[in-house]
Amino acid sequence: MGLMARVSTIFKSKVNSALDRAEDPRETLEYSYQKQVEQLQNIRRGIAEVVTSKKRLELQASRLQQSVAQQDANARDAVRVNRDDLAQEAIERKQGLVAQVSALQSQIEDLAKEEARLTDLQQKLQTKVETFRTQKEVIKAQYSAAQAQVKIGEAFTGLGEGMADVNMALQRATDKTESLKARAAAIDSLEDNPAFRNDALPSTGDSIRDELNKLKASSTVSDELAQLKAELGKGDQA
């Protein structure tokens, strides 16, 4: 069996838990409609949550960006007064901050994608809810007909599947914002801690790799220092 058939099987069971069938099909219809309206509200909350997390990350990124500019100015000032040691430290801090900013930016993009996805699903669900509301009244009006039973069955499974899909998308978005929230909080607390600035290279758990990463980082620092000195016309005095 392929992947898609397996996913379908898993999904069908989610559908049954997303919607409960009542004894009276008319009640099932009403109940399903209520569930959809609730789901629309959930999706709106989900979008708001994603937007809030995204704003928070954007604020952090702009704060870090200011610190980058500050360290850059520090490095330049240090070179001007021939303090290579200070310049080097400032460049190290700057590079650590730049790495943080770029990590934040990729998370911001990720959240923007989640936001777009949920907004799209919200619009689709809105249409579905409208259709269902109309169909519900039609089916209820012709309820005694045996055909109504079939129609209810079809609408029910089709709808349930759509709802289970939206539930899953919401869950994915929530998982992402939760993990990013934890990360954002960690960055906030690190920002208050001066030690963080010298700890731009977390351990990889592989001591050889750590050592090589340090060498690589120190060579990018000296490259940037050399560049800065050339730029400021201090190269010869080094």
């Binding site: 069996m1 392929g2 992947l3 898609m4 058939a5 397996r6 996913v7 379908s8 898993i10 999904f11 069971s13 989610k14 838990s17 994608k113 996805r117 699903l121 689709k124 669900l125 249409t127 579905k128 409208e130 259709t131 269902f132 169909q135 079809e154 609408a155 499974t157 089709g158 709808l159 599947e161 759509g162 899909d165 899953m168 998308a169 994915r172």
Partner: protein, 87 residues
């Protein structure tokens, strides 16, 4: 056949496209069981592209799908979790 791409929508796919999808779907399962993330992502995108080449079913229609494909940015870990979740 009606195929749903999760988080996206439903499409009607027939004929050769469907045959091709079914064939790649087997490979997709194989990539998942063998933990081959790159192959999994590549196949997932390819299958999603084929499904999208079918006729899109408007969100006004409430129909059940025959096959369901995870969202095209689903990671291998997410897919595995989907199968291990108690339903």
């Amino acid at each position: 056949m009606i195929v749903r791409i999760l988080s996206e929508g439903q499409y009607r796919v027939e004929g050769e496209t469907l045959d091709k999808i079914n064939q790649l779907d087997e490979e997709l399962m194989d990539a998942l069981t063998q933990d081959q993330a790159d192959r999994f992502h590549h196949l997932l995108h390819e299958v999603a592209g084929l499904v999208r080449s079918g006729a899109e079913i408007s969100s006004e229609h409430l129909v059940e799908s025959d096959l369901i494909l995870p969202a095209d940015d689903t990671t291998l870990e997410e897919a595995k979790r989907l199968f291990s979740e108690p339903s």
